[in-house]
């Protein structure tokens, strides 16, 4: 097997973010190579979503730097954002548009040339299993299909980094399996950051895990490394995120 040199697609150093006196994210470092899927774990309120919003340019960090494919997100937000696809916790869908209209809008906003919008649209719909829903209104779709449209909107411009915030919430087991397969497929050629609460999902899909707790990164290891240490992800997770609470109380 030839070891390929994988370029770093996303790198964040020393990210901090305060909301008033409350520090939501403290000194987060993150680095991701092409072809890597990162599982982003942590209890509710740990700062996962805040971190993701900073990585996608929705929120400016108080300190730290973010580089997407070598472009500084804070200095050249437009060029950097072109390399990111983001699915927030609540899919940002216009219910009054049809799936085709919405995805075409997403393609245009990401500066895809008019000539190639059609092929991008067809390819994305194919990937996300939306072939028969193009003419339907987004508002009339089921939750699972809406989630797929949300993912489609994040990958239509072929971004190098895909950031998905809890993409499998509220889906039935079949849909979950499909979405996971899609994430795996995406991870083969780009970088994916996946935030979730479902630990088996991380074990089956991700190459690496980072756990956040109270705004800090408390764990960072590959899934392979985790398996070598014969520790289950669940044990690690409860240990890291619960022990601290108990010790602080006592």
């Amino acid at each position: 097997m030839i070891e390929q040199i994988s370029p770093i697609t996303i790198s964040a150093r020393g990210l901090c973010r305060n909301f008033g006196a409350h520090a939501a994210v403290r000194e987060i470092n993150l680095e991701l190579k092409r072809g890597e899927v990162l599982g982003f774990l942590g209890p509710n309120g740990a700062g996962k979503t805040t971190t993701m919003r900073m990585l996608t340019g929705n929120l400016a960090p108080n300190a730290g730097s973010i580089e997407i494919c070598g472009i500084d997100l804070l200095d050249q937000p437009r060029d950097a954002k072109a390399h990111i696809g983001y699915l927030p916790e609540t899919p940002p869908l216009y219910r009054e548009l049809t799936v085709d209209e919405y995805l075409r809008l997403a393609a245009r906003l990401h500066r895809i040339a008019n000539a190639s919008i059609r092929s991008a649209l067809d390819e994305t719909k194919q990937r996300c299993g939306l072939n028969d829903t193009g003419k339907r209104l987004i508002g009339s779709l089921s939750k699972g299909y809406q989630q797929r449209v949300g993912i489609a909107q994040a990958i239509i411009h072929n971004p190098d980094v895909v950031i998905l915030d809890e993409p499998t919430v509220g889906l039935d087991p079949n849909q979950m399996r499909e979405i996971r397969a899609l994430i795996r497929e995406l991870g083969a050629e780009r970088s994916v950051i996946l935030s979730t609460h479902i630990l088996p999902e991380v074990e089956s899909v991700c190459d690496r895990v980072q756990i956040m707790h109270r705004g800090r990164m408390v764990f960072n290891d590959t899934i392979a490394g985790l398996k070598q240490n014969t520790a289950s992800l669940e044990q690690v997770f409860t240990q890291l995120t619960q022990d601290e609470q108990q010790t602080e109380k006592s």
Partner: protein
């Protein structure tokens, strides 16, 4: 990019019955005024012939219709401007626009021009109604043009103000109430102002529109409208940019 966003605004606007209802209602109200003025003109006509330099149909019928159109569009603006940012926030779709590789200025201007396109359609309807008078007489096209220009400028002011207030909140209803309050306040400002040359008068939207309504192009009015529009658009851009830093 601005065009893409404007196009999306129009598409979502006309996908709902709101835009159609508002256009229909506006047309109904204005047609009523129009017919009323036409009736008055017919009655006055015998007396008008005896005056040396009588006012024409444009002055008697068209100008009041445009004056009313401005008031109707003032009432309509909050209903449309609340959607621009506040509703996007509420539906969590703002992230979609901010995550895209476009600047805040693109978003704000796109939304502004989207709303302006609606107002242009409304103005075209009013002009078309006025042009129907050509069937029975001649129109003063200079006065018609100045009225149309005045209406477009004053609605651009409404749009920029509504857009800015929409940036301040995530509740569409509050955005609508705020915009209505602010616009009404600016509209009636000159009622409270006593003397004719009082400074408060200069801030009234109504006073500046009145000149256009009489067929008067004054650079002071143009400057006022331009400053008004640009200031509120800049404020809106600054507000959205600031939110990324503090929100």
């Amino acid at each position: 990019m601005i065009f893409t966003i404007a196009q999306k605004e129009l598409k979502t606007l006309f996908a709902s019955p709101l835009a159609w209802t508002l256009l229909a209602l506006m047309q109904l109200v204005l047609a009523w005024i129009f017919l009323g003025r036409l009736d008055a003109f017919m009655e006055m006509q015998p007396q008008l012939v005896q005056i040396a330099n009588p006012p024409g149909i444009t002055e008697i019928i068209v100008a009041p219709v445009f004056g009313m159109a401005a008031v109707v569009l003032l009432m309509v603006t909050p209903l449309l401007s609340m959607r621009l940012i506040a509703e996007e926030r509420r539906n969590h779709t703002m992230t979609f626009l901010i995550s895209a590789p476009i600047s805040m200025a693109d978003i704000v201007l796109g939304k502004f021009f989207g709303l302006m396109t609606f107002f242009v359609i409304a103005a075209v309807l009013v002009v078309a109604m006025s042009l129907s008078l050509l069937a029975g007489g001649a129109l003063d096209f200079g006065l018609l043009l100045s009225n149309a220009a005045g209406l477009l400028l004053v609605t651009a002011c409404f749009a920029s103000m509504g857009l800015y207030i929409s940036c301040l909140t995530a509740h569409p209803a509050i955005a609508a109430a705020g915009a209505l309050g602010a616009l009404l306040g600016l509209w009636i400002l000159d009622i409270g102002a006593g003397a004719a040359d009082s400074i408060t008068r200069n801030f009234s939207l109504l006073k500046h529109f009145e000149n256009f309504n009489r067929g008067l192009f004054d650079t002071f009015d143009l400057a006022y409208f331009a400053l008004f529009i640009v200031s509120f658009l800049l404020l809106a851009i600054r507000r959205l940019d600031g939110e990324r830093l503090s929100g």
